[in-house]
Subunit: 224 residues, 2 copies
């Protein structure tokens, strides 16, 4: 994170020799190192837990001085909160992507598994972080994740494809079905995140079968 040195590199190209520092450069640099801190933390959290992370460890991985950390976060838990928010926002996008287009149960299931796989491919560190801290040592974090998952369940319960099959059900039954779907999807993402490609294929087949079984059960559900 050395924005300073600039050791007279490439004296040619005088087009922007000492660029008049258009306003906003400072804030941009700050955001850049802030992101470097977040990414460094995410990287370390691949093999560690949030409750065991250290300030010096993070700054070292980000290539900056320990003191610089406090220009961005008052605490390590503050950084953790940001990571939770990012991860949950991404996961929310994933859920919306699954239920964006409607279609038959079969197509919805195939689409769900594809979207989950793509999400893990693109946000591996975030997903691993969520899986790890969902039952991790920080109560505040666990609570935030649990609350967001409940909200996802409500969203799933309100999705057209689900409403169609749960028409006339008592509210509690609808909720348990939605929670079942959410839990299965999150667990699947967590399973994808640390699986080799061939294991991933097996997991995908398994979860497709499981979602189909749940779908079958819901179509034959009698509220007794």
């Amino acid at each position: 994170m050395n924005h300073t040195s600039h050791p007279s590199g490439t004296p040619t190209v005088p087009a922007a020799p000492a660029a008049p520092t258009a306003p906003g450069v400072r804030q941009a640099q700050k955001q850049q190192t802030r992101r470097a801190l977040l990414d460094a933390a995410l990287g370390l959290l691949e093999q560690q837990n949030l409750s065991g992370l250290g300030v010096r460890e993070v700054t070292r991985a980000a290539g900056m001085s320990p003191a610089g950390f406090y220009r961005h976060f008052p605490d390590l838990s503050a950084l953790g909160v940001v990571l939770v928010e990012e991860s949950l926002a991404n996961l929310h996008d994933m859920f919306r992507a699954v239920f964006a287009e409607s279609g038959g149960a079969e197509q919805l299931i195939d689409r769900a598994v594809e979207v989950i796989a793509a999400h893990v491919r693109e946000h591996r560190a975030h997903v691993r972080f969520l899986a790890r801290e969902r039952h991790g040592g920080v109560r505040e974090v666990r609570g935030a994740i649990a609350a967001e998952l409940r909200s996802f369940a409500e969203e799933v319960a309100a999705a057209p494809a689900v409403r169609q099959v749960t028409e006339g059900w008592p509210a509690e039954d609808v909720r348990m079905l939605a929670e079942l779907y959410v839990d299965r999807m999150v667990s699947t993402a967590a399973a994808f995140v640390e699986a080799s490609p061939e294991e991933g294929e097996r997991i995908a087949r398994t979860v497709r079968l499981q979602l189909r079984l749940i779908s079958t059960g819901s179509r034959h559900w009698n509220g007794s």
Copy 2:
């Protein structure tokens, strides 16, 4: 962990004044402080992660000197391994207790929820530990837990109540159903472990419904 003091208490009852130290006293005392270490660690792990635990922390909680730790374990990870083994052995007992007596699907479901609740009541710390480290920061521990859960799934697949309904199914379908049951039961235990009594009642109702839905799905399953 002071087995020493013995300040000449109750001079009456000379039956065993300075008991001739029947053989085995030493080993018994050792096992006792070893257990104290394990219990102290389990206690600390209620609010912390295995990867963030410290030797001094554990010995302090157990009321003994840091150096004494190394008379029992070479490492903190060695202690962690023991905790994993204990927790998984207990969980194994739980699964066997669920499928011990056979009966109709309804009775099996009710029995399962009761057994899970009782297990959590009696082994709260162990269950929390498993939930936390199942996706925790220690690869070795994650692997051990995953392997054991797979073996539980095989056991569930072989249970009479399950074999009855999966007669004629392809092996892969049987496995996905068994894994679905195992995952739901473990997740339920994890949910119980940090829930107030009234939340616990809601969780119990929800999981009963979900297990019934899965059971319904399996009875209407067509392998297509």
